[in-house]
């Protein structure tokens, strides 16, 4: 089972609940705006605590309100591409990319800086400050940063939303390879039918 997630959580007036058991390598999380997709990803990442439930990824229990298990984010070994980038503004692009890479144990890394730079096409940006990047450039750096941390599974929140078709194609090919060759579980949020149909092996719906 790649993702075995049963969570519920109140946020203001919203109540987010998901019951998902997926064997597919790439599980697309689908649902209208405000349904709680980002919140679910945050719960899987350990950034938002579910009110109750259980989160198991690839056999490892990350959270279980019954047994009191709640791994801190840094021990969940994930790669999270946030909906809103979240690059570190005080680090140049290179140091943003290498932040998780330096923290990962060498044997867990499965991508090098050069590889990431190549397929993301961000070579000329390495010495730039994040604030000078265009929307799509920042998004690509954020993808690179998540992959370089050598994660055991990926959370991607609309990772391709502001990229042009050519870039999108390049990155989708890499995601396919991660899915098929490395066989990492991926939880993927997107509103784009084409993207989901091409990448997803399982589709989960959230909300009405």
């Amino acid at each position: 089972m790649s993702f075995d997630i049963r969570v519920e959580r109140r946020l203001g007036e919203a109540r987010i609940a998901l019951d998902l058991a997926s064997d597919g390598r790439l599980t697309a999380l689908f649902g209208p705006s405000g349904a709680g997709k980002s919140s679910v990803l945050n719960m899987v990442a350990g950034l938002l605590r579910p009110d109750a439930g259980r989160i198991v990824v690839d056999g490892v229990t990350l959270f279980d309100s019954d047994t009191g298990i709640d791994l801190p984010p840094e021990r969940r070994r994930l790669g999270y591409v946030f909906q809103d980038g979240r690059l570190f503004p005080h680090k140049r692009v290179r140091d943003n990319l290498l932040y998780g890479w330096h923290l990962a144990r060498p044997e867990t890394r499965w991508m090098s800086l050069d590889e990431a730079v190549a397929f993301l096409g961000i070579g000329p940006l390495l010495d730039r400050w994040p604030r000078t990047l265009s929307g799509g450039e920042a998004q690509r750096v954020a993808i690179g940063r998540a992959l370089l941390a050598g994660p055991r599974f990926l959370l991607m929140d609309e990772p391709l939303s502001s990229l042009d078709a050519a870039r999108r194609e390049d990155i989708m090919q890499v995601i396919e390879r991660i899915r098929d060759e490395l066989r990492l579980p991926i939880l993927y949020v997107s509103h784009d039918r084409g993207e989901v149909e091409r990448l997803a092996t399982t589709i989960a719906r959230l909300g009405t």
Binding site: D84, P89, H90, W129, R131, A138
Partner: protein, 250 residues
């Protein structure tokens, strides 16, 4: 006692000012720099810790801690000096303990002057740092955690550097305040040449002698120049930190 020139009756005022840059004056300047420098350096981590607690902590008695930090600002410096004397004097509880266990004496020593300066600078440093810490987006800290950083590493690699503007502002404020510190210092560690006679205390001495305005002016100008230097250094560091305007991303 600050009539230090080698020529007792200088021919002109200009001459007097020049000849007055005597070794004794230099030692006062160096002492002020040492006391203020040590005070700021030692207070930085304490102030940052307190600022972090006040910005991010949730615990009972937080407002009380906040009030405690502001204390040296609210009390007239003489009272702060008196409290230091009671606590850290050779007969005070902390003072005796420091002497017995570490062989450290603060009374009448430059270390005591540094402690007084540190205490007086603390509230200013904490506030500046706290403002910057509160402005750090916790989402960035969350992002660091997902990339494998422990809370401690997150703190040092994300929170701390992002709070650089506050750190620098705190350091500058603290240094300027230390350079100007008088009341608590003279009350706590008196006016000992070479140990606790910093620039403000030398100014006090000069003020006691009628018609000594030139001496006072000279010392005041030196104090201003020292903190102008600190200001310039902080501006340069601020520019280097890469945290300029509009550093918000996406």
């Amino acid at each position: 006692m600050l009539r230090i020139g080698t020529t007792p009756n200088p021919s002109s005022e200009e001459e007097r000012l020049r000849t007055d840059m005597t070794p004794e004056l230099w030692s006062i300047i160096l002492l002020s720099l040492k006391v203020s420098g040590v005070a700021v350096l030692l207070t930085m981590p304490v102030a940052f810790g307190l600022a972090w607690l006040l910005a991010r902590g949730r615990f009972p008695g937080k407002v009380l801690l906040d009030a405690l930090v502001h204390l040296p600002l609210v009390l007239p410096p003489v009272v702060t000096g008196w409290l230091l004397l009671i606590a850290f004097g050779n007969n005070g509880p902390v003072g005796r303990w420091l002497t017995d266990w570490f062989g450290v004496t603060l009374m009448f020593r430059w270390t005591g002057a540094a402690l007084a300066a540190a205490v007086m600078a603390l509230p200013l440093m904490v506030r500046a740092m706290r403002l910057s810490i509160e402005a750090v987006d916790p989402k960035l800290e969350g992002a660091a955690r997902t990339l494998g950083a422990s809370p401690l590493r997150t703190f040092f690699s994300i929170t701390l550097p992002l709070a650089t503007p506050g750190l620098l502002a705190g350091a500058v404020l603290g240094f300027a305040r230390s350079i100007g510190e008088f009341g608590a210092t003279i009350t706590f560690v008196s006016n000992i040449p070479g140990e606790t006679r910093t620039i403000p205390i030398a100014i006090y001495g000069a003020l006691q002698i009628p018609g000594n305005d030139a001496e006072v002016t000279k010392l005041a100008i030196i104090a201003v120049l020292l903190s102008l230097g600190a200001l310039l250094i902080s501006e340069i560091l601020a520019r280097r930190s890469g945290l300029g305007r509009g550093s918000h991303v996406l």
